[in-house]
Each structure stands twice: as structure tokens, then as C-alpha cells.
């Protein structure tokens, strides 16, 4: 198990309508222990997973949005948001949680985990990945 692969988790669904988003996040967290090269992509309604100020009180189900903030501590710090999906929903980066991580190779400087990329750039990232987990 010493081989390192490029893992790409693709999140396509809104956080609470179905359980895919939450159970995907569970895979990412467990997978972090395997020390692979991990990226996470958010496309289509999947970008709603990272929206600020999520409140599930009215739904009566668990709000798991705070868990995304822990990703940086698990060395999961390459989060890619598809620009076209943001634009189509009238959202900007300001609508998303400011997810950060501390870069151990740069004197623990705090850096943004979120990168907005075009559909074309995302396709290239998928192409460069070894394993695509699709949620």
C-alpha cells in the first residue's frame, strides 16, 4: 500500500436533499488516513455543499457543513469549484465558506483551499487523476 495515487472526489449534489454529499465527505475523511494525493471537486449543485451560513433547523437533520472546515487539518487542501456551476447559480466565492489550510512547507502560512477553475481546467484535472470517486 506504499503506492501513492491521485484521488479525485467529485461532488455533484446539494448537501441535504440526498445523503450523497455527507457520505461522500465521510469517504474523504477516512481516505485521508491513506496518505494519497487527494483533490475534491464541486460541480453542479455540489457547490451548495460549501455555502456559508447553512441552517438545517427547519429540516430537522444534521448540519454537517462545519466538517468541511476540518478538511485542511486532514491535509485535504485542494478543493476545486467549477466556475460555470457558480455562475449558473448566481453565486460567487463570497457565498462560500472561506476554507483554509496551514502550509507546512511555507512556515505554516494560512492559504486558501478553494480554487475556482473552468470546466475545461477541471476536465484536465480529472484526466490527470488515477481514481475518480463520483458522488
Amino acid at each position: 500500500m506504499s503506492e501513492t495515487k491521485k484521488f479525485m472526489y467529485i461532488n455533484r449534489k446539494a448537501p441535504y436533499g440526498t445523503i450523497y454529499a455527507w457520505e461522500s465527505l465521510e469517504v474523504v475523511l477516512i481516505g485521508a488516513a491513506f496518505e494519497q494525493d487527494v483533490s475534491v471537486a464541486f460541480v453542479d449543485d455540489g457547490i451548495y455543499q460549501l455555502c456559508k451560513d447553512q441552517d438545517t433547523t427547519g429540516l430537522g437533520i444534521k448540519n454537517f457543513s462545519a466538517t468541511y472546515r476540518a478538511l485542511g487539518d486532514y491535509d485535504v487542501n485542494k478543493l476545486y469549484i467549477e466556475k460555470e456551476s457558480l455562475d449558473a447559480r448566481g453565486l460567487t466565492l463570497d457565498d462560500l465558506m472561506p476554507l483554509k489550510y496551514e502550509d507546512e512547507n511555507d512556515d505554516w502560512a494560512e492559504k486558501d483551499s478553494i480554487h475556482v477553475v473552468s470546466s475545461q481546467e477541471l476536465a484536465e484535472l480529472f484526466e490527470q487523476s488515477d481514481v475518480l470517486f463520483n458522488f
Partner: protein
């Protein structure tokens, strides 16, 4: 080619389960290796032996069990997803204090690490679901 299969949907509700079954059969018949079949989300519902569809319908769970027996397939049901949906083996029955279990022959309950390991060990991970 060494494949890993991920099944994300429940049987009958979604064609993904039968597609996964057919793909797995076809891959084995073509001489490929199936490293593991991992059942996640509602896919864990493939693994209950209490399934009893009408006689003129496909018995999806039995198909998996028979395939596992014939090819020594590793059918793994995610423990966290199974606990949410009431899929129980003897170990879980004891740990959770349940009055029975329903895991089908050939299936076992284990952790998400088994899915990640399957991604690392296989040449292709094929995901079935929405």
C-alpha cells in the same frame, strides 16, 4: 485488468444495481479480476437476505451471493451506511444489541477504508449510481 466496483443505489429502485451485477459478470467471464465490490449509500440494501421479490422478477441479492460463491468475490457493505439502513451481520447484531441479523451469504460488513483500498489496489474503479 483488475477492477473495483462501487454500487451506490438500492436494488429494484435503481437500475444501477443490475448494471453493476451485469458488468461484474461480464468482466469475470472475459477473464478480468474483480478486486472487490463495495456497497455504499442505499447500495447496502443489496446485502440483505430478507429480500423476497416476486418469483417472476430477478433476485438481485441471490445473484450477488451466487456470483460471490462461484468466483470468491469480496462483497463489502459499508458499516456506517449499513448502520443507518438496518443491514446487520452477527458482529453488528452483538455490538448494536439487535434482535437479529440479515446479511446475505457472501457479503461482509466493513469500513470505508475498504473502498479507499480498492481504489488504490485496482486499475479501474467503476462506480454505479446517480
Amino acid at each position: 485488468m483488475k477492477f473495483a466496483i462501487q454500487v451506490n443505489e438500492g436494488p429494484y429502485n435503481h437500475e444501477a444495481t443490475v448494471s453493476a451485477l451485469n458488468f461484474t459478470k461480464a468482466a469475470l467471464e472475459a477473464g478480468h479480476e474483480i478486486f472487490r465490490v463495495f456497497f455504499y449509500h442505499d447500495g447496502v440494501n443489496n446485502g440483505t437476505r430478507f429480500t423476497s421479490p416476486p418469483q417472476d422478477d430477478i433476485h438481485i441479492t441471490n445473484n450477488w451471493s451466487e456470483l460471490a460463491a462461484k468466483h470468491e468475490l469480496d462483497l463489502v457493505v459499508c458499516v456506517a451506511a449499513a448502520q443507518r439502513r438496518g443491514i446487520v451481520d452477527e458482529g453488528e447484531q452483538e455490538r448494536q444489541g439487535k434482535d437479529g441479523n440479515n446479511i446475505a451469504p457472501g457479503f461482509r460488513i466493513s469500513g470505508l477504508g475498504q473502498l479507499v483500498e480498492a481504489g488504490i489496489q485496482s486499475e479501474r474503479l467503476v462506480v454505479f449510481g446517480d
